[in-house]
Symmetry: C2
Subunit: 414 residues, 2 copies
């Protein structure tokens, strides 16, 4: 199908979808969930085509695992849709309401954005997640997955669309691009007439490619070169526990810790504690010259290390004299995602939270909490690292816009 | 000065500015206001250069008037800054705050966007307005005005910067590009490393040029092809009053009415009332075939008319059978700015406000109220016609982002 036609169809579907009641939207989400489970064997058959061709192409390990679907994963995707149906509907919420000096009643209410574009790599479950969140927030979505998961994605979208079609919901609320050509992705990134916002999901490199090539507004998600700064007043045992959690619990994700910044006055005592704790997880440490004085066996960090998101069992350490130095270092190298201070000093906590420029700034907690579910949003479409529209974990509210409704009794402007 | 250096200087200034207290920011705004009045003769001398060269180039009428400064206008600009100082400071406001299931205290607080780019045509007062609003909201601003007002803009920025510099405020919070080359404007539109958002002000054509050429995120402002729909239940006298106000009070602005949509059952009675009322203001009427049956002397509207923003004493009229037809016509041709229904029907008012896709939707009031001042924001940087980040009149809040501050007691993620 031509992308312009898909855009037009999405826009028409969005018009209908934007007017559905919460009950109707929830019914559709549950029907889509049921259909996923009913059609599990078809989905797994399509997935097998992707897995076979991935293996032929030498894809293995984590990359192959990410592609693989089974009945349990399909059940989890279906449950995900049911969970979205149980979330509060953001649409129609009155955010503010007031009466102006002219006697006009103004309400600012939440409305859908319209048509979302989602462009993503690997994991086919994004198809179902994104379709569910878009649907609940009243938006039509055009999806474009990675070519490795093409057959899985097409089948998943087909199943969701069947559930919509058979129950008289707007079928084009969920559309999947079935042409794996790069040229089509580029066309999608420039389909300004139909797409209100594009949300890329994938590696930092992939997201930067989308940002650079899109004229459709993009919400940048995901890159996280996250720091933890431990000052001289910190509870060092607590600091070690938080670092172990932030670095090792799931190092491949964007809210995992990548860099440790330590105040010089505690370096001699604290750094060996960190080395010992992380040794148990085989974390490779790198450090600046001052760190190497305390931990002589580790590798010297290069300038490149300070800006690198490893997404792996690697961590670089920087020693600083003061909080000011820690703040400038972090503000220089961070990706504006999640940064933490471990301290018992009230003044340091105030200064750090005010001056660090990031979506989420922590005091005495792990950066791993930057997450729509952990924040209590009940959903997550991504973590925005930009400042416009949405910043930090994005739930349903972040997929909405607003409009002002003004009710008068014949007012004209003087 | 090189644009990269300006960007870097703006970013540094923004860091300082973002941490200033409200009292300090207000003091700076008042000092800038005083300095404008103290340096009125220098400003008028610079303005004279622009006026002389405009006259040499054959610029006249409204275009020339827009360029002209006098003592009264300078006083008004200074008072504008003083008024901004009296507005509530958006920075630091806690928008939401809650405790998560893990016992983390989360606050979502307003922070500045960082560095704004303003690119505008003609009127030099935008220099002062934009500088004041940016400063109050904690943002540095890089301004680029039209070449006709180059000397005036440079002098105004110089005066504002003097007030900042002499009082130890970050002088690069306000910077004006003094090179009128188009190439520089293009560079500004792509200065993604330093500029967080670009706000164009000017004609619809100018704004579209900026949207197309920018990789920096743009907030689209201003284009307004505004409709008023009058249904068969309307108080026709009230409808005429609102139409006269919306069409004629200030036809050059974006919230002025451009199109009238009328329900067929009242066309015979209502259209002659409209013609008579607008005749007094020399408004040229154009209409579809059905309108011409009632008002045979008017020009037949073409397809182009339906999507044209005249910004002039011209109005096109469309006759429809039903509310549904009115809504589809408006949603097809409008610029998502301001749309109104005049009705006594509760059902029609509900349907219209729900289904019309626009920043502001009115019942029984003039579209001319779409304005930051009339909305009670105390300021206006523009009217956003896009759905991301801000929609409708933009005041100080719309020049901010947010960050999450998370306070814990050692929490690690399970």
């Amino acid at each position: 199908m031509d992308l312009n036609q898909m855009g037009q169809a999405a826009k028409s579907a969005a018009t209908v979808l934007g007017q559905l009641s919460t009950i109707e939207k929830n019914r559709a989400l549950n029907l889509m969930a049921d259909e996923l489970q009913n059609k599990a064997s078809e989905i797994l058959a399509a997935n097998k085509i992707d897995i076979d061709s991935a293996e032929e192409n030498g894809i293995e390990g984590v990359m192959l695992d990410r592609l693989k679907l089974d009945n349990e994963i399909i059940d989890a995707m279906a449950d995900g849709l049911r969970q979205v149906s149980s979330l509060a509907d953001p649409i129609g919420e009155e955010i503010k309401g007031w009466v102006t000096e002219d006697g006009l009643n103004i309400s600012q209410v939440r409305v859908p954005l319209g048509v979302l574009g989602m462009i993503f790599e690997a994991r086919p479950n994004v198809t179902v997640d994104a379709a569910g969140l878009a649907f609940k927030s009243g938006n039509a979505v055009i999806l474009r997955g990675g070519k490795e998961a093409l057959h899985s994605n097409i089948e998943l979208a087909k199943v969701l669309r069947t559930a919509l079609k058979e129950n008289d919901f707007p079928v084009d609320a969920v559309q999947m691009i079935d042409n794996p050509d790069h040229a089509i992705a580029n066309q999608l990134m420039n389909l300004t007439e139909y797409i209100d916002v594009l949300i890329p999901r994938g590696s930092a490199k992939f997201i930067q490619m989308v940002v650079k090539n899109s004229t459709v507004p993009v919400i940048e998600t995901g890159a996280g070169n996250c720091h933890i700064y431990v000052d001289e007043t910190a509870d060092l045992k607590q600091a070690v526990d938080i670092i172990v959690n932030a670095k090792t619990q799931r190092p491949s994700v964007c809210n995992a810790m990548e860099k440790l910044v330590v105040q010089r006055s505690i370096a001699d005592k604290f750094l060996p504690m960190v080395e010992e704790a992380l040794h148990a997880y085989n974390v490779e440490l790198r450090g600046d010259a001052a760190t190497k004085e305390v931990l002589p066996d580790i590798k010297l960090a290069t300038e490149e290390d300070w800006s690198t998101e490893y997404n792996d069992f690697i961590m670089a350490i920087k020693v600083v004299d003061t909080l000011d130095e820690a703040i400038s270092h972090i503000n220089k190298y961070n990706t504006k995602h999640s940064e933490a201070i471990i301290t018992k000093s009230y003044d340091a906590s105030q200064k750090f939270t005010k001056e660090i420029d990031a979506a989420v700034v922590y005091v005495n907690a792990s950066t791993r909490f930057t997450d729509g579910f952990k924040f209590g949003f009940g959903a997550e479409i991504g973590i925005s690292t930009q400042k416009l529209h949405a910043r930090g974990p994005m739930g349903l509210n972040e997929l909405t816009s607003t409009k002002y409704i003004v009710r008068g009794e014949g007012q004209a402007r003087k």
